[in-house]
Each structure stands twice: as structure tokens, then as C-alpha cells.
């Protein structure tokens, strides 16, 4: 299967100007690749920079050095140096991201939160909502909650809405940050099932997962970030 995503010596640090320019290194020299249909899990202790790597791939974080190459056509797009416009297009067509916490827009009902990315890529409102409803159903979000804004949901419910939103469109690369952290066993199973389906469809997945069992179920390979230990 072709390589869908490749990181080459990616490094990042934060410079805290408000704290006198204090420099906090995050990651350094990160190199790995992900093929279509493959799920790579990032492992390492808390704070080592796993979520940061996901954010860099998505373009939410800048990186100081290195390349993040997406796609299989030449030339491949380097997220690290892509223009905002290209990044926006990438997010629409290529990279999906399920963050650790749902950033809920107030007042938008759950079903529309989930359907929104699909709407953005040209699907009709009825269609996107119908597909959103299906996915929410699989994730055991009852119909009564679908027209309610998710701000009042429990952590687990919010996470499931977040997952539905990320899984609904058909994007070649999917980034998952602790997708099962707040879920019970039943819903964990649903999510791992969804991940398996995505892999079958050729989606390249990068995930951050704490739970060893879950990791065992979904990972095709594990990248241990400790091997790229940053300079203290």
C-alpha cells in the first residue's frame, strides 16, 4: 500500500515570551510513516508530545523543523510549510482529526455538529444528517439527544459525538487523540470496529491510545516516542 503520510525529522519547541523567552522543547527528530490502511499508534509517557504530533500533522501546531508529507502524488504537500489556504483545503479533502476534547459550538445540535464536515464537502443537508444519524446510532447516542447541543453531554457522550464527526467523512488520513478514553467497554468495541472499517477502506490512521488492550486491537505498528528523546 502506498505511503499516505510521512514525518521526517520533525521538531518542535514552545518559546514562552511571557515567561522571559523560556524555551520548552516538545519533540525532536520525529521520523515515521504511515501507509494507506495502516494504523500507527504513538506511544510514550504523558507529556512526551504525542498529542502535539497529531496537532502538527493537522496544522494546529507549527513545527520548527522537518517535513510532514501528505499524499501519494508528486510533489507531496508538506504540511509544515503549506500556505493557510492549502492547509484548509487539506483539512477538507485529506486529513481528519478527532481531538481529545470536543470543542462544541454553543447552540448547534449534536446532529449538525457531526454533519458539518460532510456539508462542507458538498453533501446535501438531508444526506449529511441522515448519515450522521446512522453513525450516532452506532455510537449509542439516543435519538432524543441528537437535536440537543452537546455542551451539556457527559464526557463520554461528547467524545462519541466528536468521533462521529471525525469518522463521518471519507478522508485518506485520520488522526485520533485518545478516541476511547472516556468510553465504556461496549462503546470501545464500536469505536475499534469503526477503526477497522476505516483501515479496510484504505484510510491511514495515526492514533494516540493509552490503553494497552485497545492498542493491541487497532495498531499495525507502534512508534515509541522515547526513541526520539528530546534534549533535556
Amino acid at each position: 500500500m502506498p505511503v499516505a503520510l510521512e514525518l521526517i525529522t520533525v521538531s518542535k519547541s514552545f518559546t514562552m515570551h511571557l515567561q522571559g523567552g523560556l524555551r520548552l522543547p516538545v519533540v525532536e527528530g520525529i521520523t515515521f510513516s504511515v501507509r494507506s490502511g495502516e494504523c500507527v499508534v504513538l506511544a510514550g509517557r504523558s507529556g512526551i508530545g504525542k498529542s502535539s504530533i497529531l496537532k502538527m500533522i493537522f496544522g494546529s501546531y507549527r513545527c520548527d523543523a522537518g517535513q510532514i508529507l501528505i499524499g501519494d502524488c508528486t510533489p507531496r504537500t508538506d504540511v509544515a510549510t503549506a500556505s493557510p489556504r492549502r492547509l484548509l483545503a487539506l483539512r477538507k479533502t485529506t486529513i481528519g482529526y478527532v481531538s481529545q476534547f470536543l470543542r462544541a459550538v454553543p447552540r448547534v445540535p449534536a446532529i449538525d455538529v457531526v454533519a458539518e464536515p460532510l456539508l462542507g464537502s458538498g453533501c446535501s443537508r438531508e444526506d449529511s444528517r441522515a448519515r450522521a444519524a446512522d453513525l450516532l446510532h452506532r455510537l449509542n447516542i439516543p435519538e432524543s439527544l441528537r437535536s440537543v447541543p452537546p455542551a451539556t453531554f457527559s464526557g463520554g457522550e461528547q467524545q462519541r459525538v466528536n468521533i462521529a464527526r471525525g469518522f463521518l467523512p471519507d478522508l485518506p488520513v485520520l488522526l485520533l487523540d485518545e478516541p476511547t478514553a472516556s468510553l465504556d467497554a461496549e462503546n470501545c468495541a464500536v469505536v475499534t470496529g469503526l477503526i477497522a472499517e476505516k483501515k479496510k477502506r484504505g484510510t491511514a490512521i495515526v492514533a494516540v491510545v493509552h490503553d494497552d488492550t485497545i492498542r493491541g486491537r487497532i495498531a499495525d505498528s507502534v512508534v515509541d516516542l522515547a526513541q526520539f528523546a528530546t534534549a533535556a
Binding site: G59, S60, C73, R85, L88, T94, V105, R107
Partner: protein
């Protein structure tokens, strides 16, 4: 993956500068805005963001630099080279301008329906029934009860006036919306409703937006891209979530750190 980014930008600012004698309005602002993109310009008072908006809408002329706009026929023109009549027509058909104070963007002395229909009449609509029909439709879209079409804006609440202003601007289906603190001065719940509306409309209509605001939360909600200004200069620019999540410049970090948690 094919390159689908062939199209030309809709709005280009090149080295835009404005000074009032020794007083600097803004200096050397450049950016490209494409169709369907919403860009927030944030900064504190005196940052030059409103000056920038007025330069873009040709309400004031730049001291240096230019504003280029891609017309409906596909040709990109320097706005300074357009005649006054052409500019006025553009302002009425291709652009919208939402003022912070709705009274500045509305005719308070004529009915809501006339306010929404005015632009249509200005571009030659001559059928009362159709004008009224379009006005009714737009009032509905901005969540104003169409039964109030004949009421004067003075009878409307602040939030309703602001939504009326939005409807008045959208009726000729502009491609570019310029907004100056559209939610300023509104109650929190009213603000939320207006933001939802703006969010939905800009997505549905694929509008390009330049939104001036001091409120980073509004920027995060409504814009894809952001430009941070201070003392007339652009400090940092990029994707909204990137600039707000991973601010690079000291001033940006200061702004982000100053947001009160909800």
C-alpha cells in the same frame, strides 16, 4: 491528489498603508483572501484593524499600497482605478459591510422591508411583489419574523437590528462581507444567536469574510484565518486555530493568555 487550488484570490491587499499626517493608521498590510474564506483581523484599540477595513471597502484611500479585487467577470482590478460609479455599484452588489452600530448601516426612517429591498431597487428591480418577496425571504433567513416587515427598525431590538443589517447586505448576494465588530455591544445570548447565524450563512453562501474583532472567541468561531495587528502593523497571521493554539509572537501570546476562561 490533484491540485484544486487553481483559482485566483478574490481580494488582495498589497503593502497597504494609511497615515493621517504623523499619525499611523496601518502600515504595509498584505494578504490574499480566496472565495469561501473567512479571515479575522484582531487587535486591541488603535491596532489599525478598522482603518484596514475602511481601506478594503474604499471608504478611505491608502497612502501607499493597493487593494485588488476580482470582479464577477474574472478580471482582477485595482480598486483605486475604478470610477466612483463602479465602486458604488460594487459596494451595493458584490460587497456587504456590517457596521458595529446597526443604525449606521440601516435607514432607520424606513420600514424593514424597504431596508432590505433598497439594494434591489438600486440595481433596477421594479416589481413591488418580487422585491417584497425577496425581502420576506431574507428576513426569514436571518430569523426575523416576516410579519414585522413593515415595522421601522427603531421598533427592533439591538440584536434584531443587527440581523436586519445582515439581511440588507446579503440580498444582492455579495461575494465579500466586511464586518466591523458585528457582535459588539450585544447581550451574550443575542451575540450567540447572531454568531450562529453568521456562521451558517457564510458557510451556506460561501462568502468571503473579513471580520474585525477584538474578541478572540468570535474569531475562533467565525474565521478560518486570522491576522493579529498592533499599532498599525501585522504581528502574526495564519490559520485561526494555529495562531490561537500555538502563538509564536510575544504579543500574540499575550493576547491569547489574556482571554478569560468561560
Amino acid at each position: 491528489m490533484t491540485d484544486t487550488l487553481q483559482e485566483e484570490p478574490l481580494l488582495i491587499a498589497e503593502g497597504l498603508s494609511k497615515s493621517y499626517g504623523r499619525q499611523l493608521g496601518c502600515r504595509d498590510v498584505s494578504f490574499e483572501l480566496y472565495e469561501g474564506e473567512a479571515m479575522a483581523v484582531v487587535g486591541e484599540s488603535g491596532s489599525g484593524k478598522t482603518t484596514l477595513l475602511n481601506l478594503l471597502s474604499t471608504q478611505i484611500a491608502p497612502t501607499a499600497g493597493r487593494v485588488l479585487y476580482r470582479m464577477r467577470d474574472g478580471v482582477t482590478r485595482d480598486l483605486a482605478a475604478l470610477g466612483e460609479a463602479e465602486c458604488r455599484l460594487l459596494a451595493r452588489t458584490d460587497w456587504g459591510f456590517v457596521h458595529q452600530d446597526p443604525a449606521m448601516g440601516l435607514r432607520m426612517g424606513v420600514s424593514a422591508g424597504a431596508n432590505v429591498g433598497e439594494r434591489l431597487m438600486a440595481v433596477g428591480w421594479r416589481h413591488y411583489g418580487r422585491i417584497r418577496g425577496s425581502a420576506t425571504n431574507w428576513l426569514h433567513r436571518v430569523e426575523i419574523d416576516p410579519a414585522r416587515i413593515d415595522d421601522m427598525p427603531v421598533t427592533y431590538s439591538g440584536g434584531m437590528r443587527q440581523r436586519l443589517q445582515v439581511a440588507r447586505n446579503l440580498v444582492t448576494q455579495p461575494r465579500l462581507m466586511l464586518m466591523d465588530e458585528p457582535t459588539g455591544g450585544l447581550d451574550v445570548s443575542v451575540q450567540a444567536r447572531l454568531l450562529d447565524l453568521l456562521r451558517g450563512l457564510t458557510a451556506d453562501l460561501e462568502l468571503s469574510v473579513v471580520l474585525v474583532t477584538h474578541d478572540l472567541a468570535v474569531a475562533r468561531l467565525l474565521s478560518h484565518r486570522i491576522m493579529v495587528m498592533r499599532d498599525g502593523e501585522v504581528i502574526e497571521a495564519g490559520l485561526t486555530d494555529q495562531v490561537l493554539d500555538d502563538p509564536q509572537e510575544p504579543y500574540t501570546q499575550l493576547l491569547v493568555a489574556s482571554i478569560l476562561p468561560p
